[in-house]
Amino acid sequence: MSKKVAIFRKEHFNAAHRLFNADWDDKKNTEVFGKCALPNYHGHNYELIVKIVGEPDEETGYVMDLKQLSDLIGEKIIERFDHKNLNLDTEEFKNQNPTAENIAIAIYELLRPHIPKEKDLQIRLYETPRNFVEYPV
């Protein structure tokens, strides 16, 4: 019988962004993205939940050390995004719309190389208390 367990670590960052497509004119951007397209940016308190699934290690009883996971998220994600303008200050969103969907995918790709291969990784990202996304599904 599988003894897989899911563990979760919650972190947060505050950032500014706007949603727009540079190939579209202002009218179409407003039509599609509404207030999110306003030119001077707005922002969110992002809540990030990182889920790791695996079998507990026989010697430690851990799927993964949560303190080490927290430090990893801090170093790879929070330092990159916290108190930043996602459109202007980050490599990931220079040419990509910083929607919650794309941020979740970017976070997954930044973390995946640092999580042991045999463990599954899933990202849940809250943009507001009412809007959240998950990747991968």
Binding site: A15, G43, H44, K84
Partner: protein
């Protein structure tokens, strides 16, 4: 006397920056909050009014109407905006939540129909930081 609270929310960008100081001093005092390209939050605004219930309606003030008034007078000016750049009543002020909550009071208070009195504004910036303001009297 009964107190009634209505909660509304807005998402906005801002930065903490004193234009009379050097960049170094701003970084020293405001830290990451001074990032020149802004950052942002999901703000929650708690509006508490006080009064005696009307004998015919049982209301201090119709909570739905209060929500409409807060949206019309305050949220529409703030939501998905850059607080430093886009908001008329924050022009020339440091964009701390202390100053913001006092600005919101001035915008909202004159529109409450007597005998309804504004008692308290609570403005939540993050899960860990909020301010309360009870007016200048």
């Amino acid at each position: 006397m009964v107190y009634l609270t209505r909660i509304e929310h807005f998402n906005a960008a801002h930065k903490l920056y004193n234009p009379n100081w050097s960049k170094e001093k701003n970084d020293e005092v405001f830290g990451k909050c001074a990032n020149e390209n802004w950052h942002g939050h999901n703000f929650e605004l708690y509006v508490t009014i006080k009064g005696d219930p009307d004998p015919e309606s049982g209301f201090i003030f119709d909570a739905k109407k209060l929500g409409g008034l807060i949206n019309e007078k305050v949220i529409e000016k703030l939501d998905h905006r850059n607080l430093n750049v886009d908001v008329d009543f924050m022009k020339g002020k440091l964009c701390s939540i202390e100053n913001l909550v006092m600005g919101i009071w001035k915008e909202l208070e004159p529109h409450l129909p007597p005998p309804v009195q504004l008692h308290c504004l609570k403005l939540v910036e993050t899960a860990k930081i909020f301010v309360e303001y009870y007016g200048s009297k």
